[in-house]
């Protein structure tokens, strides 16, 4: 317990240091926050406009899609809030600043996570939360204690799943330094995918998003449970509850990849 408090204390101090550094460039910070908020606002507006033309998307109504979107958006933004530094990890490797991380008596991944606290992501979290709130108000879900608890767990495990994917992407940089674009296909692609019901995707993509990179467990399978919909793939009912298991598997794989990457880190020449 003491260890957790101490670690939390160090995290707070290092994040504080980062935020004070960031405030040295105030204008850039304000502009980026506004930009993020605007981009996300138009993102969901696009989906809403789509539903003005068609009443349903593969059998999903607008509030139902809003539920998917709200959960995945909230999870992704929260993961970015804590794991924002992982997106810039290629420059950390290129500039050799990872050396400094390895010289300190703290866990390397922990230190990398303290190098960024993407406050501007609060804008997107608010937007995701808003969409989720509207969806929940409009949907005729019969709420039970179990469902409320499940929604809370799903938000946590969805966030963990995205964080795991971010770590995987960062670990990839140990081998291929200029791998950022490939990483974005998976991170932003995954976020995008989980905004829509998987019914609209091709068969192999659904399998991929279920068994290989289990993005489907962020919002799609939890929504199936909350809305009490039947699984179009005919998977058993207990399967849609496996979000935490999928998240744990991704995080475990990410941790192994990270460890492997650190052990073969090449530093920069000099």
């Amino acid at each position: 317990m003491a260890v957790i408090f101490e670690t939390g204390g160090i995290y707070r101090r290092l994040i504080g240091a980062h935020l004070r550094s960031q405030m040295q460039h105030k204008v850039s910070f304000v502009l980026r926050t506004l930009g993020t908020f605007a981009a996300n606002f138009f993102d969901f507006a696009g989906i809403a406009v789509l539903f003005g033309r068609i009443p349903q998307l593969s059998g999903w109504s607008l509030p139902e899609v809003a539920l998917l979107y709200g959960i995945s958006s909230l999870c992704f933004a929260t993961a970015e809030l804590f794991g924002g530094a992982l997106d810039n990890f290629d420059t950390v490797i290129l500039q050799g600043t990872f050396d400094r991380v390895l010289l300190r008596p703290l866990d390397a991944l922990f230190q990398v996570l303290t190098e960024e606290f993407a406050l501007r992501r609060l804008g997107r979290m608010a937007q995701g939360g808003l969409v989720l709130g509207i969806a929940l108000a409009q949907l005729p879900v019969s709420w039970t204690a179990g469902k409320v608890l499940f929604l809370a767990i799903s938000l946590v495990s969805g966030t963990a799943l995205f964080l795991g994917i971010f770590v995987l992407g960062a670990a990839y940089c140990f081998w291929i330094v200029q791998g950022k674009e490939a990483t974005h296909v998976v991170t932003y692609g995954g976020d995008f995918m989980s905004n829509y019901p998987m019914d609209i995707y091709s068969h192999w993509l659904k399998r991929f998003a279920t068994f290989v990179l289990p993005i489907g467990f962020v919002s799609y399978y939890p929504s199936l449970y909350l809305l009490e919909r039947s699984d179009p793939f005919g998977l058993p009912d207990w399967f849609r509850l496996m979000g935490p298991v999928a998240a744990a598997a991704v995080c475990l794989a990410a941790w192994c990849a990270w460890r492997g990457g650190v052990s073969q880190y090449q530093s920069t020449g000099s």
Binding site: A17, T97, L102
Partner: protein, 350 residues
């Protein structure tokens, strides 16, 4: 002495250490770019190729070698940044790779080229953060900070953001930062690179002080022979990933660094045509009234040579240049280094 009194025996032990880097080879041209995607070829570069040595507690050791010799790579393996491709490393009885965090808590590292401080924050904030990162008790932190503020004269820029510091100030800040947690070993990679003469002196004085007063074992890499001369009783010479020499500075000097250069400034308007003619020395370079005379200490002493020059020409100023490390390393390659032959009496030196 600070820190727990470690077990007897060396604090650093390295055996047959190796590091091989895989460097991607690229095909040239537009077609080559496509080929790079499908076919990746690698070249193996042996940065460190079988190095072994041991350093005892309290020693101050200098590691010399030309660029790309493998000095930095060796330090990076000793500090746990890089994983060796082969061989053994033990620091304070632990593997710096497997026990990275434990080792990190007991060593200090300063890289001359790269700061360990928070770039955008005032120096004092970096020091304060490191106190938590290294879990330094408040009382000990205060005591150490007071000591370093006095020794390194930090007060005038303690509240200045690191990015605004001069190189000399930043290095002093980095030194303080690396020692706040009372490390048992201090590694310095090119600590004096780019510093002016005053800053170099201050740096060397400080290193001597912490070695003597705090018993910190120091291992430094450098290009600068003077760093080693003024600080280190022991010298490691590394080139092309191999250890060429492990011993005292005096011995290598006597054996190989026998040629020095006397640089004289003549009073203008006198004997400036043609080269100087002095016994036991040859003019290797001339630039107006300034002349470079190379001499071997086996043939003459610096004071005799100066006397000889002064008796023939009117001198305005003079300096003596020591042999460059690159020159010494080249000589080791050309002539080999046979340590079984006893050193001949080298005669008086200046």
């Amino acid at each position: 002495m600070n820190g727990p009194p470690g077990p007897a025996g060396p604090v650093i032990r390295v055996q047959d250490l190796r590091k091989t880097f895989r460097v991607a080879l690229h095909h040239r041209g537009a077609l080559g770019a496509v080929r790079n995607l499908v076919e990746r070829r690698f070249k193996e570069v042996r940065a460190v190729d079988g190095i072994g040595f041991a350093i005892q507690r309290g020693e101050m050791v200098g590691c010399l070698g030309p660029n790309g010799a493998g000095k930095s790579t060796t330090i990076k393996m000793l500090t746990g940044i890089l994983t060796p491709s082969g061989g053994d490393v033990e620091v304070l009885g632990l593997s710096p790779q497997r026990k990275r965090k434990e080792v990190a808590a007991r060593i200090g590292v300063v890289f001359g080229q790269r700061t360990q401080l928070w770039w955008d924050l005032p120096l004092i904030e970096s020091l304060d953060l490191l106190r938590y990162v290294y879990r330094v008790p408040a009382e000990r932190y205060r005591r150490n900070l007071d000591t370093f503020r006095a020794l390194l004269d930090l007060d005038s820029f303690l509240n200045t953001p690191v990015r605004q510091l001069s190189l000399g100030q930043r290095m002093r800040g980095d030194l303080a930062a690396s020692l706040l947690h009372d490390p048992e070993i201090l590694y310095l990679d090119e600590p004096t690179i780019g510093l002016d003469v005053v800053a170099k002196h201050r740096m060397r004085d400080f290193l001597r002080e912490i070695n003597r007063e705090r018993g910190v074992t120091v291992l430094l890499t450098t290009h600068d022979m003077a760093d080693v001369e003024q600080l280190c009783s022991r010298l490691l010479i590394v080139d092309r990933g191999r250890l060429l020499y492990d011993g005292s500075l005096r011995e290598i000097r006597d054996r190989l660094g026998t040629e020095r250069t006397l640089v004289v400034d003549l009073t203008s308007g006198e004997g400036l045509d043609g080269s100087l003619n002095v016994p036991n020395a040859r003019e290797v370079r001339a630039d107006g009234p300034r002349r470079w005379l190379r001499f071997d200490r086996k043939d003459t002493t610096a004071s005799d040579l100066i006397a000889a020059v002064a008796s023939r020409y009117r001198l305005q100023d003079l300096t003596i240049e020591e042999p460059e490390i690159e020159l010494i390393v080249r000589r080791i390659y050309e002539k080999g280094l046979d340590l079984t032959v006893p050193v001949k009496s080298a005669g008086a030196t200046l």
